[in-house]
């Protein structure tokens, strides 16, 4: 025992070593951030995949059911569009929307859901919303597979242009991640973000050309409205994806807006949303543990 006498003078600060600065969005290095995000996302995915007997079937149920209802309603009973392979276009839109809704909708409460972790251990706080987005990405990849299978059955053949989907998805992921960061940080302070965002998601569904394609809007003579809707990055991504997969019967997003230069608008919205989300989450991160 190296017990010291009672009148020990106060010790100096360590001559070297690192400062403990408290929690932040990215503290602890990027590799730790990446490892944690990946592990957390894989875990969450596994939980849903293997969590019940039917596992992945349940994951598919939501978009498929929605698709089934809308398809019967709007192609058999009421015709909103009789474009080439409208069924595939509808399913593609629903799958992209499902990704957006899942990533942002789950993100709202994600920090509070992980409350126990946040209060008990230091780790980069940004891991939590990013893991949510990553899990949604896994589901998106699987759901897109279903779209392709459905497309093949309907007579589509794979084409190189399909690779153009990758940068599109990157924009969509950035946009969704921005909203995810924003919502998860705000929810800590404002607990009514959840119902507010539920309503916002409903509006987004009808405002993102999922159900009523741009061409139908054009045909009905609401061209300006359609163009304004395309400023929404989700709508622009859906439009461009349909063009890439289903061919020229669906206008490319650039043509629909009246020139490729206009595409800068949805791109700017996506980037600005991402930057805003990053800034807000970064600002809130140090105090999240105290405000839970």
């Amino acid at each position: 025992m190296s017990a010291l006498p009672a009148d020990t003078p106060p010790l100096e600060m360590p001559s070297k070593g690192q400062e403990v600065t408290g929690p932040s969005a990215f503290s602890g290095g990027l590799s730790r951030f990446a490892a944690l995000t990946r592990t957390m996302a894989v875990q969450e995915f596994k939980l849903r995949f293997f969590g019940s007997v039917l596992g992945y079937v349940w994951q598919l149920m939501r978009p498929i059911m929605l698709f089934g209802v809308l398809y019967v309603m709007f192609t058999v009973i009421l015709t909103v569009s009789n474009q080439y392979l409208f069924g595939v276009a509808l399913l593609l839109g629903i799958v992209l929307y499902t990704f957006f809704a899942e990533a942002t909708g789950t993100a709202v409460t994600c920090v509070i859901d992980r409350e126990n972790m946040v209060r008990k251990i230091q780790f980069p706080r940004m891991v939590i919303p990013m893991a949510v987005v990553l899990t949604a990405c896994f589901n998106l990849v699987l759901n897109l597979g279903v779209v392709f299978v459905f497309g093949m059955i309907s007579g589509l053949r794979p084409h190189w242009s399909w690779l153009g989907l990758l940068p599109l998805l990157a924009v969509l992921v950035a946009f969704s991640a921005g909203i995810a960061m924003l919502l998860s940080a705000l929810y800590v302070r404002y607990r009514d973000m959840q119902p507010i965002w539920d309503v916002a998601l409903q509006i987004t569904f009808y405002g993102s050309l999922i159900l009523i394609p741009f061409e139908t809007i054009l045909r009905e003579g609401y061209e300006t409205l359609g163009r304004v809707m395309l400023v929404n990055p989700l709508a622009a991504v859906v439009q461009e994806a349909r063009h890439l997969i289903l061919g020229s019967e669906y206008l490319s997003a650039g043509d629909a807006m009246g020139g490729s230069l206009f595409l800068l608008a949805p791109l700017a919205v996506a980037i600005a949303t991402f930057a805003l989300g990053l800034w807000v989450f970064n600002r809130e991160a140090p105090r999240i543990a105290e405000e839970l």
């Binding site: 020990t8 001559s15 690192q18 929690p23």
Partner: protein
């Protein structure tokens, strides 16, 4: 004593301040903000740490003690980087790992492997290290046969074992440990303390937060006492433990002093012929004291009011330790000469004078009134008429510290033979 040079110090805290804002009304919705944009939201400022400074030497086992709400958990969380400081600095020299709770990030719906890896990464392992050590961890936890089982199907013992096995796999020079780690049954607690001891022997620096004075005196080299966010004392564990007991007792004693009169409405048998009214402790000078120093002489007085006429009652005071062992039984039952007849309404002060040589800790007194002689039924029993603390220079582990001498007899050579070299 020369000042410790900077390179000997593993953790340095200088002028640490931390306060929390507690909103007066819980405006937790955007709607409230939108409806009342001009209403200023009031905050109560709660200061959890006030200008805390200390250093922990490399290889030291350092205790942080304090009552509930004294700020010790906040200090730990600031050190762990969970809360940011308002002012002040914390410097840490070496790889640090924190154990505020076992099994952070455990998910009950997943099997052992997923949880071990998640928890390992959380605690600072890389993903590859966590993978590589999985076998070691599962074997140490003795859960090889159950590794496919979901965590929700584990018994709580298995759960803790798994979590603890992950925690000790993390190789850190500096460990921050919260007392809640040492939960579970006695054998598991012992295992925890064995490992803490091993850590100390291995030269790790440990900062240990607790309110159990026993573990402080057993494990720590030095300790810090916090009270209302202030550092009261940084000293050897025994001194800190004594001060802690005094602080703890002083507060409770105030409560008794304030409520004069029928303080001790101690529940007794319904037809109880007596009522204990007040109890106090006097030192040799006749002053009222709140805590006793081991080995000095005190008088323990219980004032009793008789509610009915009593013939030759016998008064007994039991001194009980925390485990309700009778440490001393002081009784008038064998004192035939002192027996008397009491009218209803009479007041009697039962005074017991002795040198409490009990080990440092908390004690309570129980008053029993009965008839003289052995085997007579009790008339009434009043529990906890008095509670007090004994502080002493050290804790031997014995129930009492009776005066004694210990010496080693025999020749030098025999002594050397008997004691194997360390």
């Amino acid at each position: 004593m020369p000042r410790a040079a900077g390179h000997d110090v593993a953790i340095g805290v200088s002028g640490a301040c931390k306060s929390f804002r507690i909103p007066r009304e819980a405006t937790h919705t955007l709607k409230e903000r939108a409806l009342h944009p001009l209403r200023r939201r009031g905050f109560d400022e709660f200061t959890a740490l006030r200008d805390v400074s200390f250093g922990v030497r490399r290889g030291e086992f350092f205790g942080v003690v304090g009552r509930n709400g004294s700020g010790k958990s906040t200090l730990l969380k600031c050190l762990a980087g969970i809360y940011g400081l308002d002012r002040g600095r914390i410097l840490v020299d070496g790889r640090m790992s924190t154990f505020i709770e076992l099994g952070v990030g455990f998910n009950p719906d997943l099997a052992a492997r997923d949880n071990v890896i998640m928890n390992g990464i959380m605690l600072g392992l890389t993903a590859r290290e966590a993978q590589a050590r999985y076998d070691e961890i599962i074997d140490f936890a003795e859960l090889r046969d159950y590794q496919e089982l979901k965590l929700k199907n584990y018994s709580s013992g298995m759960y803790v074992r798994l979590a603890f096995s992950v925690a000790i796999q993390v190789e850190a020079d500096i460990l921050l440990i919260d007392e809640v780690l040492a939960v579970g049954d006695a054998s598991f607690q012992q295992k925890c303390f064995d490992i803490f001891n091993d850590m100390r022997d291995a030269g790790r620096t440990v900062l240990f937060v607790t309110h159990d004075m026993g573990s402080v005196t057993r494990l720590c080299d030095r300790a810090l006492l916090l009270e209302h966010g202030d550092v009261v004392l940084i000293d050897e564990p025994d001194a800190v433990a004594n001060r802690y007991l005094e602080l703890n007792f002083a507060r409770e004693q105030v409560g008794i002093e304030e409520a004069e009169g029928p303080v001790l409405e101690v529940p007794a048998l319904s037809a109880a012929p007596i009522r204990a009214r007040r109890a106090w402790i006097e030192d040799e000078a006749g002053e009222l004291v709140t805590a006793c120093i081991q080995g000095q002489r005190y008088v323990f007085v219980t004032s009793v009011e008789l509610l009915a006429e009593l013939d030759e009652p016998a008064f007994t005071i039991l001194f009980l330790n925390e485990h309700h062992h009778d440490m001393l039984v002081a009784t008038t039952a064998f004192d035939r000469d002192g027996a008397a007849h009491y009218r209803a309404g009479a007041r009697v002060d039962v005074a017991v004078a002795f040198d409490p040589l009990f080990r440092p800790g908390r004690y309570t007194c129980t008053l029993i009134v009965g008839h003289p002689g052995i085997g007579q039924p009790e008339l009434t029993r009043c529990e906890n008429v008095l509670s007090f603390v004994i502080s002493g220079p050290y804790a031997t582990g014995g129930l009492t510290d009776l005066p004694h001498e210990i010496s080693l007899r025999g020749t030098h050579r025999r002594a050397e033979q008997a004691i194997p070299p360390a």
